[in-house]
């Protein structure tokens, strides 16, 4: 993708990892940052066979140009070594200082485990700067200013770098008109370039994959999440939480101590080191509300807190609160919800 005029930031969208809404919100977030940097957005959409809709979404979310890259041998969920090989073919030419109009070049990935790994490994391979999980990125004379949080969400910092190429991960935002992508709109040939690749992809070691015994409703995209903390005291408490989640059609999450104890799987951990979730409603049961946990809950989410300690921090972040022992409250609550069903 050759750059003319304004510098472009590169946004890598993994179509097999993100649903359309997440992908669109990600490009929208990148576009908002590009505006403050004075750059345009080039989206690289990669997948086994990413649909044209992803390209339309990206353009509507603000991308100036889109490369739709398909490779039939890509593994799902993603295998980072394969993606790295693909990106290493594309990004070094696209991110030279000349291509970036003399500015520090920047490539963005979605803030999740795969995005973080790719951002770091590409930065290392291109002797670049890994900026980490940024809440905002702005242009400044000769470089970039990035904003992020440290000390488990207890402190905000601004950092500067003049050394590109830079790699960062960012979170999706709720894109304006997110539900309203016009699927019938035609894309200009200039905006979208198709690459159908089939070269051999690398792999490390030998990977075997099995579906886990229990299929769970995903946290990503859930309207309601019920989440439990250390105060649930054991797997039986989590069985009751699952009943509550089922009655509400909700997904089930947990805090780090709940995952450590084996009551919830690590892929359902919410927080700084777990999933970042943005449901409409988050029912937090026997969770104290530490900054590390709250860092995983979107600012527009309404929190309902159930905690036996009236001084618990979680009530400061909640819209609705109940001071109660869950062992007494949950059976009464589930009974009522079941009766209403």
């Amino acid at each position: 993708m050759e750059s003319k005029g304004m510098p472009a930031i590169h946004v890598v969208v993994l179509a097999d990892e993100l649903d359309r809404l997440e992908a669109r919100g990600f490009v929208a977030a990148a576009t908002a940052m590009a505006v403050s940097i004075g750059a345009t957005v080039d989206a690289l959409i990669i997948g086994v066979a990413p649909g044209e809709m992803y390209a339309k979404d990206a353009v509507q979310a603000g991308a100036g140009r889109v490369a739709l890259i398909s490779h039939p041998a890509l593994m799902v969920p993603a295998h980072t070594d394969q993606l790295l090989a693909l990106l290493e073919d594309v990004l070094p030419q696209a991110m030279t200082p000349a291509q970036s109009g003399g500015h520090v070049s920047l490539c963005l990935f979605h803030a999740d485990a795969v995005g973080e790994e790719l951002a770091a490994r590409l930065a290392a391979r291109m002797d670049g700067t890994a900026l980490g999980r940024c809440s905002n990125i702005e242009g400044r004379a000769g470089g970039l200013r990035v904003h992020k949080s440290v000390f488990g969400g207890r402190m905000d910092v601004a950092l500067a770098t003049d050394a590109g190429p830079c790699f960062a991960v960012i979170r999706s935002i709720k894109a304006a008109g997110a539900d309203a992508t016009d699927d019938s709109a035609r894309l200009s040939d200039e905006a979208v370039t198709h690459f159908n690749l089939d070269d051999t992809l690398p792999a490390i070691g030998h990977i075997s994959r099995n579906p886990s015994q229990q299929q769970r409703k995903r946290l990503e995209g859930a309207r309601i999440i019920v989440s439990g903390g250390r105060g649930m005291e054991g797997p039986d408490g989590f069985l009751q939480l699952q009943q509550l989640a089922d009655a509400l059609g909700a997904a089930l999450g947990g805090s780090l101590p709940a995952v450590d104890a084996g009551w919830a799987p690590v892929s359902h951990q919410v927080g700084q080191s777990g999933k970042y979730v943005t449901p409409e409603l988050y029912v937090a049961v026997a969770l104290s509300g530490t900054p590390q946990h709250m860092a995983g809950i979107g600012p527009d989410t309404d929190i309902v807190a159930i905690n036996s300690d009236e001084g618990a921090e979680i009530f400061k972040g909640a819209k609705t609160g109940v001071v109660a022992d869950w062992k007494e409250l949950l059976p009464a609550l589930i009974r009522r919800l079941d009766q209403a069903a």
């Binding site: 290392a124 000390f151 030998h206 309902v304 819209k319």
Partner: protein, 261 residues
């Protein structure tokens, strides 16, 4: 097998976060630093290494404790697991912001090791400043295969098997040594308690702390910092009062209204 761990620790969250130095040459930050403890991911990485040693007593475990500066209490806490080698590595604060310069420092340390390295383990996030970028960056600097967010490691017929979950899929990845894995928290790797006799021995131990020198190779620098104080709920929390039955009644009506909305 020869295992290397890098551990940073985190500032104890019972204390307010420390004042960060805008000017790295200024003195005084060290004195104000809150005590450090192991992060949940440091603990998980350490336990993974200990489990490998449980299965094969020939396993050697060496730990480098990294800090600006390194706290002796952390060195002692780690040494109380009867490890083969525990040493400190002091870096300058600006380097903690930059995965590139930290990874290169660690690369220099490992280049000086005389024994073959079979496995490098590191928590999924390194200390208070890293968002999970240091472990994969380090793997690239060391030119080792990388497996991220591992929950369990086993050695089988001279090869490593890494176990991890990705959504509803369980993965088992078999890799020939040497490799680098980042470790996440899991029931299987909750850190055991050290034995009293080993705690006593660690109290008397002396540690070598290597200093990487006053210069910084960091390409990222701190512009400003502010402690977060704002609570996310400005209007206050509506508390549901009354007996358990009354609370359950009001809460179920509220939840149902949101389900149907």
């Amino acid at each position: 097998m020869n295992i290397i761990l890098f551990i940073s620790g985190i500032a104890d969250s019972k204390w307010p976060p420390p004042t960060l130095q805008l000017d790295p040459q200024a003195a005084g930050a060290a004195a104000a630093a809150p005590p450090k403890k192991l992060s949940p991911f440091d603990e998980s990485a350490l336990e993974c290494a200990l489990k490998i040693r449980d299965a094969d007593a020939q396993t050697r475990i060496s730990v480098f404790v990294v800090g600006a500066p390194v706290q002796e209490s952390l060195l002692r806490a780690i040494a109380s697991f009867r490890l083969d080698h525990v040493a400190g590595l002091t870096v300058v604060e600006p380097e903690l912001w930059d995965a590139r310069s930290l990874a290169r420092r660690f690369g220099d340390v490992l280049a000086r090791q005389t024994e073959t390295i079979d496995l490098v383990l590191i928590g999924r996030e390194f200390g208070d400043f890293d968002d999970g970028l240091l472990p994969p960056y380090l793997a690239e600097v060391l030119r080792l295969p990388f497996v991220g967010l591992v929950q369990e490691v086993r050695c089988d017929a001279g090869e490593w098997i890494f176990f991890r979950e990705r959504g509803d899929i369980e993965e088992r990845i078999r890799v020939r040594p040497a490799a680098l894995a980042s470790i996440t928290n899991d029931k299987r790797n909750r850190l055991r308690f050290p034995l009293m006799k080993n705690i006593a021995a660690a109290k008397k131990a002396a540690f070598v702390v290597e200093n990487t020198g006053p210069g910084s190779e960091a390409r990222v620098r701190l512009l400003s910092s502010s402690v977060r104080t704002v609570s996310r709920q400005q209007d206050g929390c509506r508390m549901l009062a009354g007996s358990i039955e009354a609370q359950a009644e009001e809460l179920s009506a509220f939840l149902l209204s949101r389900v149907k909305a």
